[in-house]
């Protein structure tokens, strides 16, 4: 069971949209932004509110790559593996991040919930390839060593707050 606060937060979001099917994706976006993931228990609640079936809400949420039912870390690192980044060696950057953080293709989030490492297929910063994005901030011209430094920096930032 989710804490009551999740539902009151959801209400806040729901009230901002018309109670219609087409509000589903924007609502899920906002839920994910609030919690860094989509608590699956909220879907029936949302579905009922906007008048669609539970299965439908679930099938939509699971279709889109960006929505995650699993909690993500404080820092979501999206390593670009688009064409421009791929031909400029983005994979070594990804590998370094994974090895620094003990993550893999299957395990995306560190146990301390600090880091999530994912790939993405283009961030629009192709001329500064290889690029990655930490939350909403793009980091250009990455190298494996810069990735190590970045992790260190983010750890320090987390320790401060």
């Amino acid at each position: 069971m989710l804490d009551e606060s999740f539902y009151s937060k959801a209400d806040e979001i729901l009230n901002r949209y018309p109670a219609q099917e087409r509000s589903l994706i924007p609502i899920i976006h906002e839920i994910q932004e609030t919690y860094n993931y989509v608590p699956v228990e909220l879907l029936p609640y949302v579905a009922k509110h906007i008048g669609i079936t539970e299965t439908k809400a679930y099938s939509v949420a699971s279709f889109y790559e960006r929505f995650s039912f699993e909690p993500k870390g404080k820092f979501i690192i999206r390593v670009c593996d688009g064409t421009a980044c791929h031909v400029r060696q983005s994979l070594p950057v990804l590998e370094r991040l994974r090895s620094e953080l003990g993550l893999s293709e299957k395990k995306h989030t560190t146990d301390d919930m600090l880091f999530t490492v994912e790939t993405v297929s283009c961030l629009g910063a192709c001329s500064l390839a290889p690029a990655l994005m930490v939350n909403e901030h793009v980091h250009p011209a990455m190298t494996p060593d810069k990735a190590t430094a970045l992790v260190k920096e983010l750890r320090e930032e987390a320790a401060k707050s």
């Binding site: 509000s23 929505f67 064409t83 421009a84 031909v87 250009p140």
Partner: protein, 628 residues
């Protein structure tokens, strides 16, 4: 804010805003596109603002407030395209362009350029071949070969300020259309201009508009495709971020022409800055009465919404995109009915790409004949390309159709980085293919490139040099399309998986010669039976590399060699006997004990045991290990 209620009021306002800008004795424009922001341009902007403040200089452009005519102004600008040299700072009226500006440089810029009109030479761009310093954009080779129509104001105005957009003449085309042209005349002008869709297909935009206008159903929609899924392309991103009003104006004109009441912009979620700038632009336009009810007092009303994508490439396909806006899974459907008949919410819908809409205002203002004077007979106008990969100058370029790939890569792009050899240029992303040296002098336009077996696509141009393995590139795209297949139809879902498996075998050195025929057969099957464009075009990168680089496939299959030394499993790590000092670091680093040796005897790698992990190479302090 007062709503503008007539064409005259718009003209007056434009004049006021223009005067406001003219009265800024110095304008400091700091590029704040995704690229420059990533390189730290916001810190530069902050520093400039701070310096301006310290010297009691007014910072923001505030049109309602009377201007203090002695003060310079600091603005964020849209993407100038030369992202690689960012952060870029332009100073007007001097017109100088500074590259790679750091916050530490700001004081000097202020003292010299802002206050005394002097140039800081060390921040000028230096021609990579001749070493010459370039004072402004027109001297930089990267800009010389370009024709900027769509990107005309991108980089010269603040994309967060509608006042600057109005001062630059934006929304004048809308006023012209609303007050001096009938709906049919607008459609006719766009038809006559032969403007073709920039989203990939190259469909004539005016035809779509005409078909929507002719539907019996009166509720109609105008939708903008800003999903830009092609990995390695960012043209639409730069337009949405750098000059959002131009594209919005194009959409309003389309809405007027076809009688639509509501519109949607569908933007990739990976472009948060574009979403922010568009949201802001819509808000401002609504406040000024350029969107919403009774636009400019004309009686025409149109509302605009933004929808964010959620990481599905297939949502760039028209029917999947409209399904996604409706709150459904983004899956393509069988056509007909076509989008122009039954699109969004089952109503007639104009769906065009960002750049297509961004072309419209200038066509309305300057006319169809002017537009057709640029580009080629059947592909008039310009095209923006995202030039990336192994070229010296990467960035966003706008060129007339008909230009050759050689001009783009070698004149604008400055040739291949690190003096390597050109190998191929990938055009059209996962639905396209590659052009080789032989094809570099063919004109680039919708119809000519089709004959070469590729498509113009959305505008990604990824340049590859001799260190790129073309089989690996084909595998990369196949992995992409397979991952992004929505799974609705079997040829695409299963076919791309089979092709991917074969390609994975080949790059791992386990391919067989029959695999080449299998790839061709599968490609043929998928191209002819898949439901939507994603599946239909998924095999094209493979077909294209098979046609141009068959020898590389054969090398991988028969000789188990990757000529570019890229494919991990085919690499051979070798210890240079001359350089080896027998320190044993490599042997200790090897996870599978494939290395043996003794003091004073060069070490050796047992190729059968080696798992090609590269640990030895990283461990060697004498750089004695190389890849063959």
């Amino acid at each position: 804010m007062i709503k503008i209620k007539s064409h005259e009021e718009l003209n007056t306002l434009q004049k006021n805003f223009e005067d406001g800008i003219k009265n800024e004795p110095v304008r400091i424009l700091v590029c704040a596109g995704t690229g420059c922001q990533a390189s730290g341009s916001l810190k530069v902007w902050e520093k400039m603002c701070e310096l301006a403040k310290d010297t009691k200089i007014s910072v923001e452009f505030a049109p309602e407030v009377a201007h203090d005519h002695n003060h310079p102004a600091v603005h964020k600008s849209g993407c100038l395209g030369f992202c690689e040299q960012g952060p870029l700072v332009r100073i007007e009226p001097l017109g100088v362009l500074y590259t790679k500006v750091k916050p530490e440089d700001c004081e000097e810029i202020f003292e010299k350029t802002v206050k005394q009109n002097e140039v800081v030479n060390r921040l000028l761009y230096k021609n990579k071949i001749t070493g010459e310093e370039c004072f402004n954009q027109s001297e930089i080779p990267f800009y010389k070969g370009q024709t900027r129509v769509v990107l005309k104001t991108c980089g010269t105005i603040d994309p967060e300020s509608i006042e600057e957009a109005i001062a630059a003449g934006e929304y004048q085309a809308l006023a012209k259309a609303l007050f001096t042209m009938t709906q049919d005349e607008v459609i006719k002008t766009v038809l006559d201009s032969k403007l073709r869709g920039r989203g990939g297909g190259g469909f004539v935009a005016g035809k779509k508009w005409q078909q929507v206008a002719g539907q019996p159903e009166k509720i109609r929609y105008v939708v903008c495709n800003g999903d830009e899924g092609d990995p390695g392309a960012f043209m639409d991103c730069s337009i949405m971020e750098g000059d959002p009003h131009r594209m919005i104006e194009g959409m309003i004109i389309a809405a007027y022409a076809v009688g639509a009441q509501e519109g949607y912009i569908y933007v990739r979620a990976e472009y948060p800055l574009a979403v922010k700038r568009l949201t802001n632009a819509i808000k401002q336009a609504t406040e000024y009465g350029l969107l919403g009810d009774n636009i400019l007092g004309s009686g025409f009303s149109f509302r605009l919404n933004i929808n964010r994508g959620a990481g599905a490439f297939v949502c760039g396909e028209g029917s999947a995109l409209t399904a996604s806006i409706e709150g459904k899974r983004g899956m393509p459907r069988v056509k007909p009915p076509r989008t122009v008949e039954q699109g969004l919410f089952g109503k007639p819908t104009v769906l065009n790409n960002v750049e297509t809409y961004a072309n419209v205002p200038q066509i309305i203002l300057s006319g169809a004949d002017w537009y057709r004077s640029i580009g080629t007979e059947n592909s008039p106008g310009t095209k923006t390309f995202a030039l990336t990969g192994a070229v010296r100058n990467t960035g966003l370029v706008e060129v007339p159709f008909g230009i050759t790939p050689r001009e783009i890569i070698f004149n604008i792009g400055g040739g291949i980085r690190d003096d390597k050899k050109f190998k191929a240029v990938q055009i059209g992303g996962p639905s396209g293919g590659c052009l080789t040296e032989k094809q570099l002098d063919e004109p680039l336009d919708f119809d000519s490139v089709k004959k070469l077996g590729v498509i113009v696509g959305s505008g990604g141009l990824v340049v590859m040099d001799e260190s790129t393995c073309m089989v690996e590139v084909a595998r990369f795209f196949m992995e992409f399309t397979h991952r992004e297949s929505c799974g609705k139809c079997v040829p695409c879902r299963e076919g791309t998986l089979r092709m991917l498996e074969i390609l994975e075998r080949i790059v791992a050195g386990q391919g067989e010669m029959e695999d080449i025929d299998k790839l061709r057969t599968l490609a043929d099957l998928i191209i002819h039976t898949a439901l939507c464009g994603l599946g239909k075009s998924a095999p094209l990168p493979v077909v294209s590399t098979l046609n141009s680089f068959l020898d590389e496939y054969i090398e991988h299959i028969q000789n188990k060699k990757c000529p570019a030394h890229v494919c991990q499993k085919l690499k051979q790590y070798i210890i240079d006997k001359e350089k080896c000092k027998s320190c044993s670091k490599c042997a200790r680093g090897c996870p599978v004990q494939a290395i043996s040796g003794a003091p004073k005897v060069p070490y050796e790698i047992d190729q059968d045991k080696c798992i090609k992990c590269g640990a030895c190479m990283a461990a060697c302090p004498f750089k004695a290990i190389y890849v063959a």
